[in-house]
């Protein structure tokens, strides 16, 4: 390289200039992100709580207030205090006279595309699932996403039997998926033609969740009938 070329090339910036640009921009960007987070956090938390509350009342239509319970180490249920991060939660729904209407339980499992998250309502009186709402789903639009909207499929969950054996140790009949139009028992889920994997996934998610929760809930029924601070 000739001397003339060296002289004509502009001098490279010092390391200080590069640090100044990167660190300076980084600090301002950091402040901006923290400010946006702090401003929007209470609104986002309120939105999430409202969405959950709406879902609880959707799956427990006779309830007007709800309370959150967590499963404690002894197998009983305690009213949740604080945020309950990492705790196993269920939501009890009560009517205007503070009568227990049922429980709402969240469950999730693998669908066709990704994880499907649902919340279902359990009625003590009917010993059945009486409502379901899909909270999270990326199933194929027009096919798999019928699990959220197909009226015939949703009829399965107006009274899906999850009764227990007499000793309350396990469910009398597991929830099983069947082909569309072949449902003969109240614990069967009538599938959707063209969305077989997604509808079977819903039945499996509910079966796994009910197998886990129903014996625990039924054997500690009295835990949900104490005093509570309900949310409307």
């Amino acid at each position: 390289m000739s001397e003339t070329e060296l002289v004509s090339r502009p001098a490279p910036p010092s390391i200080w200039h590069m640090y100044r640009a990167m660190v300076g921009v980084g600090i301002v960007c950091g402040l901006l992100i923290v400010t946006a987070f702090q401003v929007t956090r209470p609104i986002i938390e309120r939105n999430k709580a409202e969405a959950l509350q709406k879902a609880i009342f959707h799956v427990l239509p006779n309830a007007s207030t709800s309370a959150t319970y967590r499963l404690d180490e002894s197998g009983g249920f305690l009213v949740l205090e604080g945020k309950g991060v990492g705790a196993e939660l269920v939501y009890a729904g009560y009517d205007d006279n503070h009568e227990l209407m049922g429980l709402a339980v969240e469950a999730q499992g693998m669908g066709y595309q990704d994880v499907i998250g649902v919340i279902y309502g359990y009625s003590f009186a009917e010993e059945a699932i009486i409502g379901i709402q899909v909270l999270e789903s990326k199933e194929t639009p027009g096919l798999g996403d019928k699990i959220e909207s197909d009226p015939e499929f949703l009829e399965n969950f107006e009274r899906l039997d999850v009764s227990l054996r007499d000793d309350l140790s396990e469910m009398a009949n597991p929830i099983v998926p069947v082909r569309h139009g072949e449902k003969t028992h109240p614990w069967e889920v009538d599938g959707i033609t063209g969305a077989t994997i997604s509808s079977v996934a819903i039945a499996d998610i509910l079966n796994r969740s009910a197998q886990y929760w129903m014996p625990r809930i039924r054997s500690h029924l009295s835990d949900f009938q104490g005093d509570f601070q309900g949310e409307e």
């Binding site: 990167m22 609104i43 939105n47």
Partner: protein, 220 residues
């Protein structure tokens, strides 16, 4: 410099039509195809991208003399990622349903080549005012293109627009239009239309030129 010979209005208009980021430059195809299954999703993604584009253009053009060339790309990405994070929080605060529908594609605005492209090719060489006009034009052009795709796909795929049913119950939805392949079909149809309009304009310009020349010769 060519850019300085153009007025700010030209900078704005070019992004809307002549250099439309989707229909002419074919940039940022990932969100264009992925979240244009309904008009609302498409418009929300278009507006979110437009906001990030305008804000990053402002920041990059303001700091263009402060950022050394060697670290410019890293700094631009830092600026773009910041505005994308802000948009992410704002959308969560506005509507959780919309946030769920747009999914990971909000975060992926960071790597939308349209935004980094405008920062590098335009904002880093122009004043704040011109960069704002460029960002506005390109941003609105991008949102408009996404809306065009989203509207067609929703109308044919679900028989509705912004959730309002347009047809009689007898209308059979074209489910393929809201599936990924429908995105490709619709984009191809729009590109065909844009290219046809462009070619027609060129042919008209040539025939006008030929007529003028012929008239000139006759006059001589």
């Amino acid at each position: 410099m060519a850019a300085t010979s153009k007025s700010s209005t030209d900078e704005f208009i070019k992004g809307l039509w002549k250099e439309n980021p989707v229909f002419v430059q074919v940039l940022g195809m990932c969100p264009v195809l992925a979240v244009s299954n309904t008009a609302m999703n498409a418009l929300a993604m278009g507006l979110a991208t437009a906001f990030v584009l305008i804000m990053s253009n402002i920041a990059v053009s303001s700091l263009r003399n402060f950022i050394p060339k060697q670290v410019r790309i890293a700094t631009y990405i830092l600026i773009i990622a910041t505005f994308v994070t802000v948009v992410d929080y704002v959308i969560q605060a506005v509507s959780l349903d919309l946030y769920k529908a747009l999914g990971a594609f909000i975060s992926l605005i960071v790597v939308n080549c349209l935004i980094l492209g405008r920062a590098e090719a335009f904002a880093s060489k122009n004043t704040v005012a011109r960069s704002v006009m460029d960002g506005l034009g390109m941003g609105i052009g991008f949102a408009f293109a996404l809306f065009c795709l989203g509207a067609v796909r929703e109308i044919l795929g679900s028989g509705s627009l912004f959730g309002a049913q347009l047809f009689h119950d007898a209308f059979q939805d074209w489910v393929v239009m809201i599936l990924p392949s429908g995105g490709f079909f619709t984009l191809a149809a729009w590109l065909l239309l844009f290219n046809w309009l462009e070619q027609r304009k060129e042919r008209k310009a040539k025939s006008d030129e030929a007529t003028t020349l012929a008239l000139g010769k006759e006059a001589v």
